[in-house]
Chain length 342, copies 4
Amino acid sequence: MIKVGIVGGTGYTGVELLRLLAQHPEVSLTAITSRAEAGGAVADMFPSLRGRVELRFSDPAAAPLGDCDLVFFATPNGVAMRQTAELLQAGVRVIDLAADFRIKDIPLWEKWYGMTHAAPELVAEAVYGLPEINRQQIRGARLVANPGCYPTAVQLGFLPLIEAGCVAPDQLIADAKSGVSGAGRKAETHILYAEAADNFKAYGVAGHRHLPEIRQGLSAITGAPVGLTFVPHLTPIIRGIHATLYARITRELDYQALFEKRFAAEPFVDVLPAGSHPETRSVRAANFCRIAVHRPQGGDVLVVLSVIDNLVKGAAGQAIQNMNLMFGLDECLGLSQVPVLP
Amino acid sequence: MIKVGIVGGTGYTGVELLRLLAQHPEVSLTAITSRAEAGGAVADMFPSLRGRVELRFSDPAAAPLGDCDLVFFATPNGVAMRQTAELLQAGVRVIDLAADFRIKDIPLWEKWYGMTHAAPELVAEAVYGLPEINRQQIRGARLVANPGCYPTAVQLGFLPLIEAGCVAPDQLIADAKSGVSGAGRKAETHILYAEAADNFKAYGVAGHRHLPEIRQGLSAITGAPVGLTFVPHLTPIIRGIHATLYARITRELDYQALFEKRFAAEPFVDVLPAGSHPETRSVRAANFCRIAVHRPQGGDVLVVLSVIDNLVKGAAGQAIQNMNLMFGLDECLGLSQVPVLP
Amino acid sequence: MIKVGIVGGTGYTGVELLRLLAQHPEVSLTAITSRAEAGGAVADMFPSLRGRVELRFSDPAAAPLGDCDLVFFATPNGVAMRQTAELLQAGVRVIDLAADFRIKDIPLWEKWYGMTHAAPELVAEAVYGLPEINRQQIRGARLVANPGCYPTAVQLGFLPLIEAGCVAPDQLIADAKSGVSGAGRKAETHILYAEAADNFKAYGVAGHRHLPEIRQGLSAITGAPVGLTFVPHLTPIIRGIHATLYARITRELDYQALFEKRFAAEPFVDVLPAGSHPETRSVRAANFCRIAVHRPQGGDVLVVLSVIDNLVKGAAGQAIQNMNLMFGLDECLGLSQVPVLP
Amino acid sequence: MIKVGIVGGTGYTGVELLRLLAQHPEVSLTAITSRAEAGGAVADMFPSLRGRVELRFSDPAAAPLGDCDLVFFATPNGVAMRQTAELLQAGVRVIDLAADFRIKDIPLWEKWYGMTHAAPELVAEAVYGLPEINRQQIRGARLVANPGCYPTAVQLGFLPLIEAGCVAPDQLIADAKSGVSGAGRKAETHILYAEAADNFKAYGVAGHRHLPEIRQGLSAITGAPVGLTFVPHLTPIIRGIHATLYARITRELDYQALFEKRFAAEPFVDVLPAGSHPETRSVRAANFCRIAVHRPQGGDVLVVLSVIDNLVKGAAGQAIQNMNLMFGLDECLGLSQVPVLP
């Protein structure tokens, strides 16, 4: 059994980790921290976990994280970078679900995240935890930077095209829509029910933190900077990301076959039949990315539709997938939930 | 492995049975019928099942239901009563998720359901599949009438009070609210998104088919007719029933203790701490009923709050719980999903 | 033109006042205060008002409220009671949309609202602004206590029955459901989209502040204390209250005729035909209360269904109705919006 | 007073016409037809109109449409083209809210709409009713083709850029999201609440009927065919369209100034300040298009955000705007509703 700790257990990625880990046969939940809720039972805060999670929240200072085999950080940006070095030295492996270790270019990270990085040397060591690209490196990693939700959906959708070099890498467009849980479980006015329900809007058009992360990932494949316009939107669903991707064709291929071949061996990426329109609910509460590729009107633009559950393949599920790889388990262990529809 | 067939697999109870049975370790899905979709792959209609359910829909006439150990009817009312006798004769056990075998009083059934009953003799044999009341009879049953969604939530909420005889049985009120999936997957105008979203209403105040079912269940406990006012409402959620129950106190007791004791051994009924307000999402996609009991202002009215997922404990999950009992399996087998929150 | 000021313009009742007053032909919006937003344009915060409301938020200390003919308080409880006396002395009339002047029994108010009342003498003077009961007194009032949203829906629904003395006044039950805007525009976790969407729950079963307000109103009619069980619920709609009211019959009457006659002259109360089920959307964004009365199964319980838009007839619309009365205008002026459906 | 008839009054554009026309000071509602509902009161079907619309549905064959000054067709595609000639001959003017007269190229229309056109000569006469482009022609028109909802939002957003010739006309992308009322009030499974709620998806990527309409409009401006990729999506809101438009810059300009100048005199197009993100609810239930223009990261792609209420500026409101123009009224008459927020 892997002894697992969670730092920051009161947000949505935290409770989603708990939901999934409670069903994982090789995990022993050992500690979960929350300064505000220390001493309280996790199941009092999240009654959905009654009878399934017996833990209480620990104060971060007192939590037995050093006894864990693995610690997940489900914290705001800037927390993991201060605590990871000590854990690694104690032999604990770490998966950060925030952004602290995602961007290799430290000044770029500091510009987008508005703070000084506390552990640049660990950024160099950290492995970007997108198994469909980095499976081998993840297996050996002490420290994994779990990808952002938008970056997961967008990179998986563009991946076959960029690898094949069949689209213009300087004219990519990602029009992405996220459910409201992506904004976290924070008391902020703009994500109140009466603000976000029956409403649709774009946000962050001038620049979103996931832009440099996506660019880094796609550029690593081409070996040259990519040009990407990324527009995120807020849609009134609880969970789910739908990325609509546009790329200009530069080389004729059987694009459907390209996608099917690229992901044939991937347990959590499902290429739909030609002509399909994946729905976010088709992956609700499950660790899948479903993708369809279209060439509207036979023109020179490809449209890729890519959906994930932002809390699962876009966060907690992918983190557990990475954990399975790091500990030599079946990559799918504990991740066999069937999507909840309707 | 239990060979299972499903008649009527294209509605919400059908696809929910598929979701849950696909995760059940002792079930082999053998046949699923749909006249309209015969020949089509189940996963083409419900992409959430891609990779998990390989079956195709069969024409009802051609489906190998006689080879099954158990057949679930997830059909409209009036279908199972015509096909069950033949299956039972072939040694196949049957669980009907519709209402054909729920009401013992045939003329009463015919009045509420507006048709002549085709198999009154089977109604006499059928066991009402509420395990918290009829566990023993279910174990030996050939034919189980799976309870309605409202009746499950309402009966479980009133049960301890009626059994203890501490409330007036002639003045019960059940104010119940259902998610829209309870109306089924039928192309009807009033349950369109643009009609049901951002809207709340009562319906069927003059009389709802679940009223006689609830009355029958509660009367069986007291041994005398109960007086119940039942008002169902439609609330814009996908899944979930919230029953708010009112009963006039006739005898002083520790009501919290009464509920806790009554359900202490029940794996799927969870009595919340005093003062709690169960949310429908705390049971979303899982086979639980969560209950809280209140005595507002120390007055003479008890208020019981009872929540279920109408598609799980109110339909498919309870049906599988019944299946487990009928086949001597652990009652909880395949039903350990953690509720999906948020 | 009536010069109108609004204290506390950034909440939902504030913006709703602005929406309605901007369409009122006899109102000149003179001042709107917000400490946090002082100096900012109202339409920058609420783009829906662009081109229709040119005002900027004023600091409360500097706002020219003394120059107004009428000031609306759309503030949290406890604000109006500190500022009203000075305004009244300056000849300004006041309508408080919060609870400061609703409860005549000061100790009772202080118990439920958890603070010492700052102006008990004004409570005595204040007129409870439910025009269907107090129209004449409102006409002459300097100070109106605008009713709560639940109390409006519940009192209007019970009113004919209580006045007629045909139900048991000690066994009333009000099962009420509110949209999430009723909780206000406050940054609180439990009303986040991802918490409140696709979820239904009761709250405040032990006691809600609107309980004494409703009791006071109904008791004033009977001349004796009424016994009321009041259970509020949160339903995932933006606007709307649906009250389902239960009363035990003590005297036979034609209840449909009773309701129709009682409200025949009321411009904003609409009694639906027998057998109807009013929907909250049938009053969305408009100043109506729609009511239906049922006697299920011919039994001894009456069920009254009463719906309002909590922000209109339950708050801002009713306040403007009161304003019209206070200033001798046509009661319906500026309140002719047709409900928005779908 | 203009005597107005409505053919097909039971859909969403029909009831929205009724909502708005009931508030229009120069309109006398004379007839509304529905074969299925003939004889029934409009307000029985739509209780939101109780007390405001006294009409009953007429059988189409018997309706006194010839006595009207203007008839709106709120019917499925293919109805207006069969009935318009007779009305025009009787001196009745016509506004068709469906697509029968929108596309000038008859074979193109027949290909996309799958039927033979019954009145090609009227297509030549019909004026495309987008006042921001065709105001003068609308004033003199007997027959107006009211634009589609997507085409309204997309064309208004691209208009200044295309007119100025500052973007590449062959690489336009319109990623558009529509609320579910855009699919109409039809009993179809895919728009049920339990299917469309908490779900997001693209549809019609291979080709949507609004594509040729948008292309026709934009091409008329440039005088040459435009290249447009158009991807519609369904988002779980009742009303609203959000178009996210992408265009490649070919000439440097002050784009904010360009938009502000182009729409300065337009009463129903509102250009937001630089950096804004218009929300669909900021136009809910009102006849506005709000637009923002962005140049992310100073790159070579412009992003235009354009929102409308699909039932108002995208249908019934725009139709009334056209009526006002056709009958020499103030263009804004009866269209001064303030958007409903929250």
